[in-house]
């Protein structure tokens, strides 16, 4: 599958934007500038970037507690996201949601959700809506390996299968459900095999290879758009940081951690693009620089934005 040069560069830019965002959040959180808790997506950028590059603006995504990458890949603006993380009035959700609850329906982001797997039935509802309205919109539903052991996964995927809903489920298998290794919580080597239980296709792909993700998710999305029903795509990946910021990750071995860092999807894609002649070293450095500047501006925007008024606590409960 040939991908236009512009799109390739765009995917690269999205990945760098996510990484730069997460690195910056890491720093600002450690400095005490961000309240609550945050779960970082660094290391998993290829999945969001590769998968979302297949989407139209009117398609939908549902996200997770580890959602910054999905939102950025779907078109979320880093300044408004950062403002939300800072609890400011100018954030996407006026400071009411924070890191785990960012939603912007206008650009197809139905919401990050802090209850594991809560996005799965929500994605089902969005896909059902598209089906009933007769559009060819699709819904991309991101969740982690831990979510596949929940009630919502089982009930949600079963319904999507019998109703042939236009959904692609993207499992980000980063090997740990918080601290619990996948192998401890489930007795199955490839989570994509769970697709058999619902009579739908299941694919496993290297989640650190952005082009592989793009292709597999792209095929699944094409199938969904044609009304042929859902697909389960398992992307094998790993986390750069801990489950949340502050997690000392004593449950991971040094070796596993180093291997994860070696599998970093960004230098890998950069190298590939340079080899393909799509990008020069200079172009790539420029993108890095632009993203650093974008994030400086985003942090400045967040810092300079006002906090919400205390009275706003009472607003937005009902329409």
């Amino acid at each position: 599958m040939a991908i236009e040069k512009e799109k390739l560069i765009d995917m690269y830019r999205v990945m760098v934007r996510i990484r730069t965002f997460e690195d910056r959040v890491f720093k600002e959180f450690a400095a005490g500038n961000i309240p609550g808790f945050v779960h970082l997506y660094a290391g998993e950028e290829a999945i969001a970037a590769g998968a979302c590059a297949n989407l139209r603006p009117d398609d939908y995504i549902t996200s997770t507690h580890r959602g910054h990458g999905h939102l950025i890949a779907k078109g979320g603006k880093t300044d408004r996201m950062m403002a939300e993380l800072y609890g400011k009035k100018t954030g996407y959700n006026r400071g009411k949601g924070g890191s785990m609850h960012i939603a912007e329906v206008d650009i197809g982001i139905l919401g990050a959700d802090a209850i594991v797997a809560a996005g799965i039935p929500i994605a089902g509802g969005a896909a059902l809506s598209a089906q009933m309205r007769g559009t060819d919109q699709v819904t991309l539903c991101f969740f982690g390996d831990g979510a596949t052991n929940t009630t919502r996964f089982h009930e949600g995927v079963n319904l999507a299968s019998i109703w042939k809903l236009p959904i692609v489920y993207v499992i980000e298998n980063n090997v740990y459900a918080e601290t619990t290794p996948v192998s401890y919580a489930m007795n199955i080597p490839n989570i994509a095999d769970r697709a058999v239980a619902y009579g739908i296709p299941g694919k496993t792909v290297d989640g650190n290879d952005v082009l592989a993700v793009h292709e597999v998710v792209g095929e699944a999305l094409a199938r969904a758009r044609k009304g042929e029903g859902p697909t389960l795509v398992e992307c094998k990946t790993c986390r750069y940081y801990g489950h949340y910021e502050g997690d000392t990750q004593t449950y991971r071995t040094k070796q596993e951690f180093e291997e994860c860092r070696k599998r970093d999807p960004i230098p890998r894609f950069r190298k590939k693009l340079i080899k393909m002649g799509v990008l020069t070293e200079k172009d790539a450095d420029k993108i890095n620089q632009e993203m650093l500047e974008e994030l400086d501006k985003a942090v400045k925007f967040a810092e300079e934005s006002p906090f919400p008024e205390p009275r706003e606590t009472l607003e937005d409960v009902y329409t």
Partner: protein
């Protein structure tokens, strides 16, 4: 309370750990399951060290399967074990609510006492750490509406240790709701060196007074105590009653205090509607109305979800100022 016994100072978190540790050591049928129990001893560390001490059979990491955990706790309890199941944040109780409402708490009754369910559910409750809408709930009111369930809400290290030990020994299902802000604030307090338990169903007068009864729950106990100290300077004497157990509620302790003071304020970190404060108000209105010299006041959170931004969250949570205002309205 602690006169004449040898005491030590520990944190609220340590009190929780010690309670579970001591009961696991005492009774081999006690075991623990939950998410992130093995590596972290749960996200806030309250079970730290127990995996190393008791091994993976008795300290079990689970998949993210709250309904399976609750159902398995009921099954293990009915067959001779004493499971402790950690349903991390109170809002996650909703995920397995029908297993709590139907299996765990109704089956004994429906089977005409053929079974019993000595299971303990432990969860974080409470706001104040910017954990946003799904990780900050105090589910007191709606859990109180479940017949067959006992609920303890410790506000101090002493209460936490004594009540959790009793909860584990209790032959009925007990929900323990401990406040995450009391953990993150590293609240400390004295506990006896010797083993002790606190009976379930008994309130504690945290401060004696004669002008106004303040019934405060969980974290609110501390806010009530600090407001009471300020009011004392103005010559207003506050009695702070900590129910400690919400089900069965120590109605008598509350009524006795109201009989003495003639005034009641309830401080409860929940949206006001159908909160614990609703039930306490109704009880006092029903059973002690003649002793009231002023309307009952409730200091609760507004009927909204819990906001993230610290500014909004602070506005949402009942605080000392709100309590001072309520007291001033009735004295």
């Amino acid at each position: 309370m602690l006169k004449g016994v040898k005491v030590k100072e520990i944190t609220y978190l340590q009190a929780i750990t010690e309670a579970v540790d001591e009961e696991m050591a005492r009774d081999p049928t006690v075991f623990l399951m939950g998410e992130d129990i093995r590596q972290w001893g749960a996200p806030l560390g309250e079970f730290k060290g127990l995996f190393e001490k008791y091994g993976g059979e008795r300290v079990r990491d689970t998949a993210i399967s709250e309904t399976a955990m609750l159902g398995a706790a009921a099954g293990a309890a009915a067959t001779g074990m004493r499971p402790i199941v950690h349903i991390m944040f109170s809002e996650f109780l909703g995920v397995c609510m029908s297993d709590i409402r139907c299996v765990l708490t109704k089956t004994r009754y429906m089977t005409g006492a053929k079974t019993k369910f000595p299971a303990t559910i432990m969860s974080y409750s409470g706001a104040g750490v910017s954990a946003a809408g799904e990780h900050s709930t105090c589910p007191y009111g709606y859990m109180m509406a479940i017949p067959g369930l006992k609920i303890v809400v410790p506000s101090t290290p002493y209460d936490a240790k004594g009540l959790i030990k009793s909860a584990i020994r209790e032959d009925n299902p007990v929900q323990v709701l401990y406040h995450q802000k009391l953990i993150s604030d590293r609240l400390t307090g004295e506990v006896p060196e010797e083993e002790y338990t606190i009976p379930i169903g008994k309130a504690d007068i945290k401060r004696e007074g004669s002008d106004v009864t303040v019934v405060a729950i969980g974290l609110m106990v501390h806010r009530a105590l600090s407001a009471a100290a300020k009011l004392q300077e103005k010559g207003i004497s506050i009695e702070v009653v900590d129910p400690r157990t919400l089900a069965p509620l120590d109605k008598q302790a509350i009524i006795d205090s109201v009989k003495k003071t003639g005034r009641l304020v309830i401080m409860d970190e929940e949206p006001k509607t159908e909160s614990a404060s609703s039930e306490i108000s109704a009880i006092v209105a029903e059973e002690a109305l003649d002793f009231l010299d002023a309307p009952i006041k409730r200091v609760c959170a507004p009927d909204t979800p819990i906001p993230f931004s610290p500014v909004l969250e602070k506005a949402w949570m009942p605080d000392e100022e709100d309590l001072l205002k309520a007291v001033n309205e009735i004295v």
